[in-house]
Amino acid sequence: MDFNLFWSSLGPLLLGAIQGTIPLALASFALGLLLALVVAIMRISSNKLVSGLGRVYVSVIRGTPLLVQLFVIFYGLPAVGVKIDPWPSAIIAFSLNVGGYAAEVIRAAILSVPRGQWEAGHMIGMSRNQALLRIILPQAARVSVPPLSNTFISLVKDTSLASLILVTEMFRVAQQVAAFSQEFMLLYLEAAAIYWVICLVLSTAQTRVEKRLDRYVAH
């Protein structure tokens, strides 16, 4: 192992993580969650058309590879006159993807809140929407934290796919250094280690938060 190369490439890789991987994951996750919330609420609507639309969206997103979604947006859309830069393309693709998966998580969380909570909301005079907003969603949010952190951890790793549409995130930096130095094993293991550390930190935080939130949810 070439330790000099290890240390000298660590800086650029971390910079790639800080300037690429992490902001890409955070932005996509935030937008994806918003989208997921909307889709989850569509999915529990009593209006068949609305819930059907939500279901089709989730089905398409979960039934197609993320890489294909990414390529359709970046390489496919220009064919119909829509040309989007690498970064926005990546954020759009990842948000849409998170939107599909997280929608199912949020929907399940909403359904997991006992019926008695809806009824207590109605009892004090709330409409369905008021009860959803004030009583159900705050509890569903707490229930969603563990599965959504899993979604986020997957997303952090999946951002490496953005290297294939020319986004300079950590993995693309690793590829560039590897191509230049021909030290493929070293660079890819180094990138793997950084992903691993990030995910370890995230899952430790997840465990801590989970324990505290559970008490604020009806069982």
Binding site: P114, G116, Q117, E119, A120, H122, M123, I124, G125, M126, S127, Q130, R134, I135, P138, Q139, R142, R215, Y216, V217, A218
Partner: protein
């Protein structure tokens, strides 16, 4: 917080021919019920006889198939909603209204009644105080300071003022149920509905909750209480209604129905409950 006595003694609640089926299971078969202002009716009967379904129908949580519910006039609704000074009748047998109209009817029923649930159903993500003021402030749009002051006074009455910033998981079952009662009172309903308020509690916690309800009865609140606590029913209720299999089998003054029931089914039920204790 005393219900006003200015109005003549008229029924706060009148139920006519209430019927409800779940699929092929007919749970209520034409229930009639009348509760005069300031009176307490205890609803007793075996498991599955339809007691909870009646209360849920009165609170607009269930939509009966037929029958009518009338709730009497009152001075003013706490929310200032219009129409409180007129009696409210919801006729479930009438040609089914639009979804929106039905929702409005159920909301109107809830505007006048408040329910205490068997399993408390407090909001676990809110503090005790937040649980109590959620309805008054967020739904009824009353001034927050006023709602907080009222909530604190009510909590003090049930001995829980020092728990106002606690969350439900930090309270015992008996304390949670007392918060459930305060949450209902804070809505200023004209009718209080209790669904087996003590049956989920450990035996040593039951008395505190019953004592609170008894006090409310003495204060003149109009209440319908589903309960298996016969001694409590005898002391507190003006009338006892025994139902079985979706019909009212017997009704009358508490002492009569519980001590000298006329109907065989009532006798058997009362005897069985007394033996269990």
């Amino acid at each position: 917080m005393l219900p006003t006595d200015k109005l003549p003694v008229e029924p706060v609640l009148q139920v006519r021919g209430l019927s409800k089926s779940f699929g092929s299971n007919q749970v209520l078969r034409g229930i009639d019920l009348e509760v005069p202002r300031g009176k307490v009716v205890a609803l007793i009967g075996p498991s599955g006889s339809g007691k909870t379904t009646i209360l849920r129908s009165l609170n607009g949580l269930e939509t009966p198939d037929a029958g009518a519910v009338t709730m009497g006039a009152r001075d003013a609704a706490p929310s200032g909603r219009k129409g409180a000074e007129k009696p409210l009748t919801v006729d479930f047998g009438a040609a089914s209204p639009s979804k929106k109209e039905r929702a409005r009817q159920l909301a109107a029923l809830r505007d006048r009644s408040a329910m205490v649930f068997q399993h408390y159903n407090l909001f676990p993500h809110k503090t005790v105080l937040e649980n109590v003021i959620e309805g008054p402030v967020y739904v009824q749009k009353r001034p927050r300071a006023e709602a907080v002051a009222e909530a604190e006074a009510l909590l003090a009455r049930v001995g829980l003022l020092e728990k106002k910033d606690a969350h439900p998981f930090e309270l015992s079952g008996g304390q949670q149920q007392r918060v459930g009662i305060v949450r209902a009172l804070a809505l200023k309903p004209q009718l209080l509905l209790f669904d087996e308020p003590t049956s989920a509690l450990d035996p040593e916690l039951v008395d505190d909750v019953l004592a609170v309800i008894k006090e409310l009865a003495e204060e003149g609140w109009t209440m319908v209480i589903v309960t298996h606590e016969l001694a409590f029913a005898r002391q507190t209720a003006d009338e006892v209604v025994f139902m079985d299999d979706g019909v009212v089998v017997e009704r009358g003054p508490a002492s009569q129905v519980l001590r000298n029931p006329k109907e065989e089914r009532t006798q058997a039920f009362v005897r069985r409950l007394l033996h269990e204790i």
